[in-house]
């Protein structure tokens, strides 16, 4: 894992990358959103105040998923009808990107996958619709409108000029889980599974006073 370094074009603070394929990061000092262009960093925006910390996961939290150790390097935070929702961007020791989502303390690990069949377009995504991926079959259980609140750290793509987005939640009879992100065209498909907090063996988590 190379660690290309640079300086924040806004405040000059050193900016370090832990994930060689990171396309975007935030300056830990001035909260500028920085996008890599060749060897330069360009400021594309600024992160507004993030909501009070609610997730026990934070940047640099480490854990193990399916015998692969991973480290949290970035996140996207949304607000939707049921509260706040964090998508933590994790890098495994093999350099793969994983997403660890924390939606009201329900945790799931997923990865971006190529659809094996065409996904329903936004107009045809309704509750109860079936979505197939490889041998797995899912049902759309809810369509959520989420408001993008901000980003932190390193992401594998540019993600900053968002507002309201539509996501479809996919579930089935086992603990498998999926999300269709309709903010991109064509939509993105993430497939993974629900996990229990304790199964991830998380270290370097946020401590809550009194707990």
């Amino acid at each position: 894992m190379s660690r290309p370094a640079g300086n924040c074009p806004n405040c000059g603070a050193p900016v370090e990358f832990q994930f060689s394929s990171a396309v975007q990061t935030t300056c830990p000092y001035c909260h500028s959103i920085l996008v890599r262009q060749d060897v330069d960093l360009k400021k594309v925006g600024e992160v507004a105040d993030l909501p009070p910390e609610i997730s026990p996961i934070q940047l640099l939290t480490e854990g193990i998923y399916k015998s692969k150790s991973f480290r949290v390097v970035g996140r996207i935070i949304y607000q939707y009808e049921l509260g706040y929702w964090n998508e933590w961007h994790c890098i495994t020791h093999q350099g793969e990107s994983l997403w660890l989502s924390d939606a009201m303390a329900e945790y799931a690990v997923s990865a971006l996958v190529k659809p094996t069949k065409p996904l329903p377009d936004p107009g045809n995504a309704y509750r109860g619709a079936r979505v197939e991926w490889n041998s797995a079959s899912f049902e759309i259980t809810s369509i959520n409108r989420a408001r993008y609140l901000g980003v932190e750290g390193e992401l594998p793509f540019e993600y900053w000029d968002k507002s309201e987005m539509v996501f479809a939640d996919l579930r089935n009879g086992s603990a498998q889980f999926g999300t269709i992100d309709y903010s991109e065209s064509p939509p993105l498909l993430f497939i993974g599974e629900f996990v229990s907090f304790d199964s991830l063996g998380l270290r370097n988590i946020r401590e809550f006073e009194g707990w």
């Binding site: 009070p52 049921l82 303390a105 509750r127 089935n172 907090f197």
Partner: protein, 435 residues
């Protein structure tokens, strides 16, 4: 998390409506919080706690688990942070129950429901149970188990206090279906926007009391709850298994007994007899003395005759040669056969047998008094040849059958008890006609 625990961090805020203190324990996870002084539902995600609505309550409910109390369930420490009272109506009667919100900042939310002293620890499911039909009845399949539909109802929220990780709304009603596989229950709540499945596990009140360190004792559970495990559950199968094992043992003992003791002949003698007319003769005689060795046991006396379309009557007595104790008994032997319009027929038999139970060992003889038709003079009718045998330690079946019946009692009792428990359970369901 191994350091000594300081007091829980509680955010204390002022209600924008009445100025009263509102405590927020759910950190950033709480979406709505209730000001219990003025019954306002407040938006916990806004810094100023915007008032969402005010509600009216016919009565004020007190939580059995005071909000802010912590307890360990399934090995995880939870804090009770909210409670709602919900109501359903069945046959014109309103029933209400409580639902507590339990919170752990790492492991998220669990729920406790309480109705009439019956508690369930509830987890909202992420996986999707499969609702389908079995015959005419809905069922739900989940993780390899089948849950039977118990009832559907509208659950209306009538009272709230504390905090909720959703936008709680007093007066809101959702369509619910309960499916049971005691001690578990699957519940489905449907609103226009979504379907939420949850899995409840029946938990005795005493466990809740101990976990949360509550004072006094839990309210006693009234009636039978939908997913309450039957005290006879599993015992019915166990009782019948035990029954089969004991019957097998009985059969073994019986056959072993038959193998080892079966019929030692202690006396056998052939005789012939001719009936004298008009009863002038005393027909009785005694046999020689024979020994019944060993212990108290059953004795069989067999009479084999050559009667053919004829009858005879035997008065018999087994007499102890030393004590003169006598065991009197009698048998009629009759054997007829022929052919008529329906074909060949037979009636009776030429043999008879008597089992005398529990005869002590000793020296014995038999007194025998045969009798035949005194009116017929023909030798074909009034004479016979016969043999008397005495067999010691014959196997008898009455004790075996009594044993089987005695063993049946607990198995049947358990089955009936279980059946009546299930009847009480289903009496509260949509299917009170039967189970």
């Amino acid at each position: 998390m191994t350091q000594p625990r300081p007091m829980p961090k509680v955010r204390s805020l002022a209600c924008p409506n009445c100025g009263g203190t509102v405590e927020v324990r759910g950190l950033g996870r709480t979406l709505t919080v209730v000001c219990i002084q003025c019954l306002s539902v407040l938006d916990a995600t806004t810094p100023s706690l915007q008032v969402i609505e005010q509600f009216r309550a016919k009565e004020r409910f007190r939580p059995l688990i005071p909000l802010g109390t912590r307890g360990k369930l399934d090995g995880v420490l939870y804090e009770a942070i909210g409670m709602q009272v919900r109501e359903m109506t069945a046959d014109g009667v309103a029933y209400h129950w409580s639902e507590y919100v339990l919170f752990n900042p790492y492991r998220g939310f669990r729920y406790l429901t309480e109705y009439n002293g019956h508690w369930n620890l509830v987890t909202v499911l992420q996986a999707l149970p499969l609702a389908t039909m079995r015959g005419t009845r809905p069922i739900a399949n989940f993780m390899g188990a089948t849950y039977r539909h118990f009832q559907d109802y509208q659950a209306a929220t009538i009272y709230v206090m504390g905090e909720f990780p959703w936008r709680v709304h007093v007066g809101e009603s959702v369509k619910c279906d309960d499916f049971i596989a005691p001690p578990r229950m699957l519940s489905r709540e449907q609103t226009d926007g979504e379907t939420v499945w949850s899995l409840g596990e029946y938990t005795p009140g005493a466990v809740i009391w101990k976990s949360f360190g509550l004072r006094g004792s839990p309210p006693s559970a009234a009636g039978v709850f939908a997913n309450q495990p039957s005290p006879a559950a599993g015992r019915v199968v166990t009782a019948w298994k035990r029954f089969l094992v004991w019957v097998a043992i009985l059969i073994f003992i019986q056959f072993t007994a038959m193998l080892f003791h079966a019929g030692a002949t202690v006396f056998s003698q052939r005789y012939s007899f001719t009936q004298q007319t008009a009863g002038t003769h005393e027909n009785s005689f005694v046999t020689g003395v024979f020994e019944l060795p060993g212990r108290i046991c059953d004795v069989e006396v067999k009479v084999n005759t050559d009667l053919d379309n004829n009858w005879a009557y035997f008065n018999l007595a087994l007499i102890n040669a030393d004590t003169s104790d006598a065991y009197d008994f009698s048998r009629q032997v009759s054997y007829y056969h022929g052919r008529d319009s329906d074909g060949v027929w037979t009636e009776g038999g030429s043999k008879a047998s008597v089992v005398l139970p529990s005869i002590p060992p000793g020296r014995y003889y038999l007194r025998v008094e045969p009798e035949m038709d005194t009116t017929a003079a023909r030798s074909a009718v009034n004479s016979m040849r016969y043999q008397i045998e005495v067999i010691r330690d014959v196997t008898t079946w009455p004790f075996f059958f009594i044993g089987v019946v005695l063993l049946l009692i607990p198995a049947i009792w358990t089955t009936i008890r279980s059946g009546s428990f299930e009847q009480k359970r289903w009496a509260e369901s949509d299917y009170s006609g039967g189970g």
